[in-house]
Symmetry: C2
Subunit: 419 residues, 2 copies
């Protein structure tokens, strides 16, 4: 328990302690903080209290950065020590912060008074395709209803390089894009605003630790030491633009219009109690992708659509544990050809679809390509997103009264530029 | 003419003045320089001599960076002023450097005494597919000999997001990757070292100027103001890994093993005299892609293979002007959905293949997928690359005795990791 009172429904109990980058009106410099209840602990104010052997020479530097990259670049063991220190500092049994009212007055900021920023400078961003249900639905809806799953899908976690510059923090508006589409297959393409604007429910993980060098790999049994923590992600997708562009080079402009992430990075250590068994993989993966330990996580995710000036309606509930491929496998696969990673790189899971129609992770699947419109609480229907719709993802894990949540990943769709 | 004597065969005449980042044993800090003949003008030593209205308040900062990003982030007009100042400082008619022996002794470094670094911190890297000949050959060799060109190819410059972290400067070794391949179509894939290691002759352009914001576009008629300059690029490609992975998400691990660029960034102003007419485009592009002015450049490119301890053999000669899509079109297309660019981003042309078999830009095409091996000067044959092969690209433009060259883009293929 913390001396900071935390509502049992809060995403940010002392078991969580996610890192983020925030600023305030009084101090506009972005800086690292940890969420606790309704507050943020300003780590730049308490860096001297990190007295463990791994953090004492690092804390002042890493907690005075404008991003989490330096913290992420420390070792797996240092992350553990930092978390232990923060948990101790916030404990109701520890007086160093609790009993120092002057320090408390500068070290705690109400979340409602803070502006959240991107947690890291993201060098490279990769999006995987790790949900079997999404892959199967994608083939049916996007390729050809009679086609089988791609032959390579069960042999490796497929992925593609995404655009890092257009990743934005929760709350940033997303503009409906203009682009080329071909609404009728045997006619020439047309240009104009996207008509099939979609979300994709994803989660993403930040890379940390000492990077591998170009030409070297991260072995599968070391992969977890390079995964710092997770965020929610909305991989906004322009389906009609995507359908016209994706062969032969994969998703490009249909995905780089903006990608939203939640601001709080939940560490893998906070998610440790929510580990569940991995999905059975058949065929058995190649040795470079095989790991015997569990690295699958029970995280409940909900997606809601809130029309302009309306109420939010939950349209999907899914779970991170539906993924076929684990994050360890995604990371090891990414480096097998020698691709060098850097602290602050981001890798996303791909759309997380469950086995039932209400657990699908995109409007494409939920409305079955527009053939089964969803009805929102105001009675309006949605095949795809309307201008003014705000899409809100939330996620949390819960077990034995211990709750670890991700906060919100939200973004409002604004009308296309008139070109 | 410069007071620095420049061999007429040099790539680095006073008409060129490419920017790069270099360091020396005496001063290991990477810093901006300009190539002139066999020398580098150390811009950090002469920043006070930039007295024009746009550069005088910027020069000290931008020329004391460890990358060119800040210089690239200045305006198109500031780039022009900087170039004029450097041309004046190096002119035989200008005494400020010529007659100051003390300054000359610190401001000039022999290129052979310098180590070159990546010219910029590359935030995002995009690879296009802008050569029609390469696209046609690719369909024949890689997809299906009977298939037509992709239906979207002539409507827009296709591209994909590449991996920025694995872009390395000329001279860095490239390791043959391990990965998954499926040598026999109806059998399961295998894992091991790539057997079909290839190069791709490309050129790439650095983005500069004030970036567009997420959700905004760069109009086609403004696109040239965001193109700072060009380098040579070898987009090393593992063809067997590529063939197994590329459907449905495009090139991924087959391309992120390492991408080599030449260290000297030749400005678009230096290339201005070598403009030639654009390739005729039919169908006529959508208005957002249409420009009436010429933005095609006559740059001769040669590719050579130098076996371990052997002599280099030229295996291909091609030309930048073969591209169907212009760099203005690539850039405008990239932003049409609202993707925000940053100074220091890199966009590559894709493999530049000409119309004749000796002008193809990859071993895949030159050896026609291994069916027509090339013979090197030592009598050895090549279908694809061998371990120990060094691949060397050079390029230059020449007209009326004025020569503008790119230096070298070279990299040696080293054996795969034993896994």
């Amino acid at each position: 328990m913390s001396f900071i009172s935390v509502n049992p429904e809060s995403d940010f109990s002392i078991h969580n302690l996610p890192y983020g980058i925030f600023s305030t009106q009084a101090n506009p410099k972005p800086r690292p903080g940890v969420a606790i209840g309704d507050y943020i602990l300003d780590l730049s104010q308490v860096s001297k209290l990190f007295v463990g052997p791994l953090m004492r020479n690092e804390a002042e530097e890493v907690f005075n950065q404008t991003t989490l990259n330096k913290l992420m670049s420390l070792s797996y063991e240092a992350w553990h020590e930092a978390r232990q220190t923060i948990q101790r500092l916030l404990s109701k049994h520890e007086g160093v912060l609790r009993d120092n009212s002057e320090l408390r007055s500068t070290a705690f900021v109400l979340q409602r008074d803070a502006t959240m920023h991107l947690p890291a400078q993201i060098g490279d961003y990769t999006d995987f395709f790790s949900s079997l249900e999404h892959a199967i639905n994608g083939v049916k809806l996007f390729v050809d209803g009679d086609k089988a799953l791609f032959p390579n899908w069960k042999y490796s976690p497929l992925g593609y390089h995404g655009r890092a510059s257009s990743i934005v923090v929760s709350g940033s508006p997303i503009r409906r894009p203009n682009g080329q589409m071909r609404p009728i297959d045997d006619r020439p393409p047309v240009f104009g605003p996207c008509k099939l604007m979609d979300f994709e429910i994803e989660m993403a993980f930040f890379i940390g630790n000492t990077p591998n060098k170009n030409g070297d790999i991260v072995p599968i049994d070391e992969a977890h030491k390079h995964i710092f923590g997770m965020v929610l992600m909305n991989d906004w997708s322009a389906r009609d633009i995507q359908k016209w562009e994706w062969i032969p080079l994969g998703p490009f402009l249909s995905k780089n219009l903006g990608t939203t992430i939640s601001p709080w990075v939940v560490t893998m250590e906070a998610l440790e109690p929510f580990k569940v068994v991995n999905v059975v993989q058949e065929p058995k993966p190649f040795p470079y992708l095989y790991h015997a330990d569990n690295y699958n996580f029970n995280v409940n995710i909900a997606a809601a659509i809130k029309p302009d000036n309306g109420e939010a309606s939950v349209v999907a509930r899914t779970n991170l544990s539906h993924l076929y491929w684990t994050m360890k496998q995604m990371l090891a696969h990414h480096t097998i050809t020698g691709c060098n990673l850097n602290a602050g790189d981001l890798m996303a899971t791909g759309t997380i679809s469950g086995p039932t129609p209400d657990s699908y992770g995109s409007m494409l699947e939920l409305s079955w390509n527009g053939t089964k419109p969803l009805t929102l609480s105001d009675g309006s229907e949605r095949k795809f997103l309307h201008d003014g719709d705000e899409v809100i993802f939330t996620a949390h894990s819960e077990r034995d009264g211990c709750r670890v949540g991700f906060g919100e990943c939200r973004g409002k769709l604004i009308p296309a530029l008139a070109l």
